[in-house]
Symmetry: C2
Subunit: 351 residues, 2 copies
């Protein structure tokens, strides 16, 4: 398999290197042939080429079996007057590859309950997955900036809603059969369309799936008050961005959460949901668990190697059980380990 | 003072009745003259007049010194095919009265830490206030609905941002001097304008206020991970809707959180941030604390009776300390009391 690696900025290179090490170990253990090719994206690409998504990167991504991404952005490129932003590279590649379904699973691990701001008894048994629409809505609508005002258009077509809801409903069917759709139908027209289409698709094509609708403001509460009661959650782009970062707190740290961005075909982008964390970049202390778990999602969704994916997830679980924790996961600073130690612990478990 | 009461739907009538009782007690104790006049809004107004905000209600609201509101909405009026929605009444009155600054304070009380999903040690000393822009953004932009799509326009003018940021910065100056502005400047044009205007206004007019910018997704985490580090938070309408419901979980229950919606002049709307809770309406078990605390905000902001406002807040605090808790605030069902018992406990403390 041909895997394109886009390390990006900040801690991106460190955590993707850890994930690549794990994928290499999987390849050698199971006799697979993985080829890795690095390309530029984000701020690193701006510095080298002037573009946040160079044509060469996009071409490589299009022909890849899967893409492993680190993170983009940093203070160096966030001056308000800048015309080219690292984030544009990320948004552009998602859009260009048609990766409309962003899967963000949240399953708190016993060893990291202490790191969560949420009371442990609420976290027992939490196992949810958010399916965030990733190529539509206010992220991609027309934008204007005048002397005295600015605007962003939030637009959704029926087809855009249908395909992501189908993806989420199929996932719900394969899990507990429960689907929660999140919108703001009491205020937004796009949300009313979202609710109509969701109700119709699930009713017609997934009659065995139990669908409930939640308003985004209520959902921001329920996610904390009764996280166990959710299984698959589907929502539009902007709400998904906010709710998944909120949901990350259930797992204790953003540093534990992987994601998969999928389209109609195989392939996809696999990336931790954390950012580039420029403040700790280059220090060898970044938490690579989310990148490693993203590699597991890559094995599962892009390469259809379910056994291998579970093997990586088990290894992560065992490393966490063994107390191999980075600084974001433990209040016991003296016990905190770095990126390399986590990677080795996972590799050791893999054997 | 001439106070218009808009009970609305569901538990609205019960909790506003409690708040009115408290205001009457304040009036008699301090020798004030408060006149209360009830008017229709929301679903109740739709049933009676066909409109969610009858002209008569708006006229009364315009001439009032302050407005006490309950809640609007319910399943009866939420059929997707309905043309008139209860929420339209609420949005219309906010807009018509120019109430652009929605203040939502969050200060967890020792007696209700148990009701919060957040670990108690994180809640100690939390005392923050969100200033949500209330009459602009995607709530009020043009909406379209075609056969195959729908859209909502998010628009902000410089003037709209300036006035709410001034309000928030003045509040920050009167408190700890720290202001956090929340946007999504890495994606939205309106957010980049928001960030520019906020930076300019605070820099020029409030040089003593310490301003930081946060992205809305990060903020959804920080609010849980380190709530104590925030003082005044200012943000646009939609983000404010989501973040304040999330922040409500810090206080343990939505049933404890009041709000004030203010404009350029005196007056304003004072309402609990909870909804109409149709499932428990009419049972006498609704939590009236948020409505009573909204009455305290009415005394403070609309009538400039700071001493009286503090007196009500103290009475609430003492009632909570005494363990007078509704079902949403305690897991000990046998100890839970109803609306009337809370009201009497607060009235008793007021004496
Ligand atoms: C970097 C940013 C543009 C991006 C987003 O908002 O989609 C990030 O927050 C994410 O969630 O992947
Ligand atoms: C009822 C609804 C329209 C309203 C809003 O979204 O503003 C409510 O959620 C609120 O926060 O006051």
């Amino acid at each position: 398999a041909n895997i394109v690696v886009l390390p990006g900025d900040g801690i991106g290179p460190e955590v993707t290197a850890a994930a690549v090490d794990v994928l290499r170990a999987v390849a050698s253990r199971y006799g697979h042939d993985f080829h890795f090719r690095e390309h530029l994206i984000g701020g690193a690409a701006i510095d080298a080429t002037g573009s946040a998504l160079p044509a060469e990167t996009l071409a490589a991504a299009r022909s890849a079996d899967a893409i492993l991404l680190g993170a983009v952005g940093g203070p160096k490129w966030s001056d308000p007057s800048t015309r080219v932003r690292p984030e544009q590279g990320l948004l552009a590649i998602r859009k260009a590859l048609g990766l409309f379904a962003n899967l963000r699973p949240v399953k708190p691990h016993a060893a990291t309950l202490g790191a969560s701001p949420i009371k442990p008894h609420l976290l027992q048994g939490v196992d949810l997955i958010v399916v965030r629409e990733l190529t539509g809505g206010i992220y991609f609508g027309d934008k204007t900036r005048g002397d005295g005002d600015a605007s962003d258009l939030c637009r959704y077509s029926v087809a855009e809603i249908e395909r992501v809801v189908r993806h989420a409903a199929a996932l719900a069917r394969a899990r507990s059969g429960r689907l929660t759709s999140v919108d703001k139908a009491n205020v937004l027209e796009t949300s009313r369309l979202w609710r109509d289409v969701t109700t119709r698709i699930v009713g017609e094509e997934f009659p065995d799936v139990q669908l409930e609708h939640q308003l985004v403001d209520s959902m921001a509460m329920h996610l904390l008050a009764r996280p166990r009661s959710f299984d698959v959650i589907v929502t539009e782009n902007m709400f998904g961005d906010i709710l998944t970062d909120e949901a990350a707190m259930l797992a204790g740290s953003l540093g534990l959460l992987p994601s998969a961005s999928l389209g109609e075909g195989r392939g996809g982008i696999f990336e931790p949901i954390h950012g580039s964390a420029p403040d700790i970049a280059g220090k060898g202390i970044a938490n690579p668990y989310a990148a490693i778990l993203s590699a597991a999602m890559l094995l599962r969704h892009a390469l259809e190697l379910e056994g291998e994916a579970q093997c990586v997830e088990l290894a992560v679980s065992q490393a966490l059980d063994a107390g191999v924790l980075t600084a974001d996961l433990t209040s016991d600073r003296a016990r905190a380990v770095g990126t390399r130690a986590v990677t080795e612990a996972v590799l050791e478990q893999l054997e």
